[in-house]
Assembly symmetry: C2
Homo-oligomer: 195 residues x 2
């Protein structure tokens, strides 16, 4: 029951926004009664938080499954292929976390707290991957890639998937300039580009 409600909420919240979708719509989609929802989640804000939590869990699982078969030194670049595949999926509507942050003004809202955690997680992954790529200035480059990641997703909402590919290109250029990047590019003449 809880899962059915959450699944319905996920579909509607992601497609139209948490604010645009009322409880009644979720109940109709899940074919559930109002009391079920309120006994499981307490209030709408908690349902939103559960929705965000579920999105985070599935994103982490998806990313980990994607990078698992990829050599660590290539992950920092290849994660942008994951983004491309994501923004090309037919029902792509932007990053659910970015949207919730935009809709909920209060940073202490439970859903926003979860979103902040997820950002820390993602940034830590980037640092890992960039270090594995053999880059000297790993934290700086990792953060740059994180910003590029955010930009790839938000820009694809308006401009289409090509922006994710543009971001991939930029990530490759950054990694190469920083002395890391793909394994086959390791022999580049610029190992320590100063700065």
């Amino acid at each position: 029951m809880r899962d059915r409600l959450l699944e319905a909420a996920d579909r509607l919240f992601y497609a139209e926004g948490t604010r645009a979708v009322g409880i009644d719509r979720v109940l109709a989609e899940a074919e559930a009664a109002k009391a079920s929802l309120y006994s499981h989640f307490g209030c709408k804000d908690e349902l939103v938080a559960a929705y965000v939590q579920q999105r985070i869990a599935s994103a982490r699982a998806s990313i980990e499954a994607f990078v698992a078969p990829i050599p660590p030194c290539e992950r920092a670049l290849r994660i942008f292929d994951w983004i491309v595949a994501w923004v090309e999926s037919p029902d792509f509507m932007g990053c659910p976390l970015q949207r919730v942050v935009g809709e909920v003004a209060d940073a202490r809202h439970p859903a926003r707290v979860l979103a902040a955690d997820q950002r820390d997680w993602l940034r830590a992954r980037f640092v890992e991957w960039v270090k594995a790529a053999g880059v000297a200035n790993a934290p700086q480059v990792a953060t740059a890639l994180l910003v590029l990641f955010d930009g790839a997703v938000i820009a694809s909402v308006q401009d289409g998937p090509r922006r994710a590919r543009d971001a991939r290109w930029a990530a490759g250029a950054l990694l190469q300039a920083a002395g890391g990047g793909r394994a086959e590019a390791r022999t580049s003449k610029l190992r320590k580009p100063g700065r």
Copy 2:
């Protein structure tokens, strides 16, 4: 009168979102009557569109005034200083256009049409600036900087202004790797990094 309404709408819509703020709040803030609003704007969606239009106009003016005294070849990089200043302003709440796009699902909404125009304008400016920086692959690099621009703004909402500075660093690295960048960096040994 129209200006007073628009000014009040701007404050409230930007601070809390167009969906979270009702007509009555705008009227109270502007100390205006309901009939005034509806005679000037027709409906709320048009007020939202007017709000977006005003934000676009002021952003363009601000950017143009900022880059005017800067040598064209430096503008592609220095525009990131403009972003830093913006995200550091105390009432920064993200990009108003990104937020409206996130709130309004329908891409044909008048406000979203305006937002799409503004993106074209911004991208054209980046192409100009990157060309002036003497970069070979100007459109590609310009688009990369546009994505970085988007990422700088959205990432600063959650992570604070440091992300805008990180984006500036990445922009500098990208421009340098592409053979352009600041005038004093022109003598860099890597003119054609081959991709």
